[in-house]
């Protein structure tokens, strides 16, 4: 195996999950930012751990999609956008965990 020294910047949030990601092992938290029924593109979405500490941040795709690679447990997903902010608290397990985050002023 090679050491991945890619940067820590966020990968394309709209791209499919890379084939190298093993959903038997990875805990993926994935979903959309929404204001009402509309999705919100370009929102800043951050993942906070169970103590409220920052773990990661991505910019949602133009379609409002985001994705994190976490670990089983409790997490908070918080979104900040020009249409307001909002958050969802989720308990996740290995595999794909799909959620949505509603933002409002």
């Amino acid at each position: 195996m090679s050491v991945n020294i890619d940067g820590c910047g966020a990968p394309d949030q709209a791209a499919p999950i890379p084939a190298s990601v093993d959903l038997e092992k990875e805990t993926v938290i994935s979903g959309f930012v929404k204001a009402g029924v509309e999705t919100v593109g370009g929102a800043y979405v951050r993942l906070l751990d169970a103590t409220g500490e920052f773990a990661a941040e991505v910019v949602a795709s133009p379609e409002g999609h985001f994705r994190f690679f976490a670990a089983p447990g409790s997490w908070t997903v918080r979104a900040l956008s020009r249409l307001g902010s909002g958050e969802s608290v989720v308990a996740v397990d290995r595999g794909l965990n799909e959620i949505s985050v509603a933002v409002a002023n």
Partner: protein, 283 residues
């Protein structure tokens, strides 16, 4: 150090877009954001393509740096205003390069691209073409850069600050949580390193916290500001953010960034590694 000598507000930036002798530079790992829309007149630096050596695990050398800045139309006397995504991680990394290679006047936009976007300030997709210059870089200032032997020597004697997330520090995750976790190296942290995630220094909109808040964060974590400090993360850009806070905002004298960071340390043979939430002890 005075905050306004190293940091400008988004408001100042917008009012000085056309100021003579001021060059705006967006720094990102993924420049698709720049290509879609950037601060009007800003040139781009691609963290991977422009700032990393294409072959060796190192960043651009003195000659490569001066060729790059010349090609981008940046002069030695220009005031360089850096900004970028990811809460200015890569802009802070570039700021560190500019200091390493002796640039006189360089500043960050407080809050970076995020603050600019959230404020609804103008973005432009126009091509930016500045006339080429003859930039002259200085030899690397090694007082700002730590290598692995410096880190080994610092265990038990100097401050080591691990700025990754608590789960990366403890060894529960190997990479930030927006990236796939496959890695070859060991998880954990350098024994005695304090855990102060870079994010503690930033507000939610990406701006830096006040000097008083910052002092409280690092003193509260146990940083002894009478001793030298080495900051590290996974590849050295989040720790540039903390290096900027400690040296440029709080004025600590001897602060180095360990750009080898965890991808190097966690792959070395024969070095100590601590697991769990506590710093651990020097062997």
């Amino acid at each position: 150090m005075a905050r306004d000598s190293v940091l400008v507000s988004a408001d100042w930036a917008e009012k000085n877009l056309d100021a003579p002798g001021v060059v705006f530079v967006e720094v990102d790992e993924d420049t698709s954001a720049y290509d879609g829309g950037h601060i009007p007149g800003a040139v781009k630096l691609d963290w991977k393509k422009d700032l990393q050596d294409p072959i060796r695990r190192d960043f651009v050398n003195q000659q490569q740096f001066q060729d790059l800045l010349s090609a981008r139309g940046i002069g030695n006397d220009d005031t360089v205003i850096l900004y970028g995504g990811n809460n200015n991680w890569f802009a802070a990394y570039a700021y560190w390069y500019f200091k390493l290679y002796g640039h006189g006047d360089v500043k960050l936009i407080d809050g970076g691209r995020k603050k600019w976007e959230l404020d609804g300030r103008p973005l432009s997709a126009d091509l930016v073409d500045r006339p080429e210059t003859s930039y002259v870089a200085q030899p690397q200032d090694k007082s700002l850069r730590a290598f692995r032997d410096d880190v080994l020597a610092a265990i038990g004697s100097s401050n080591l600050i691990d700025v990754r997330s608590p789960d990366e520090y403890a060894g529960r995750l190997l990479a930030p949580a927006h990236l796939p976790q496959e890695q070859a190296q060991r998880a954990g942290h350098v024994p005695t390193a304090l855990s102060v995630p870079w994010s503690k220094a930033a507000n939610e909109d990406g701006t830096f916290k006040s000097d008083d808040e910052l002092r409280e964060i690092y003193n509260g974590a146990g940083l002894d500001d009478s001793k030298p400090t080495i900051a590290y993360c996974r590849i050295g850009e989040r720790s540039s953010h903390t290096w900027f806070v400690l040296r440029e905002l709080l004025g600590h004298g001897d602060v180095k960034n360990y750009d080898g960071s965890w991808t190097e340390w966690g792959s070395l043979v024969g070095v100590p590694v601590a697991l769990g939430d506590e710093p651990g002890v020097a062997e």
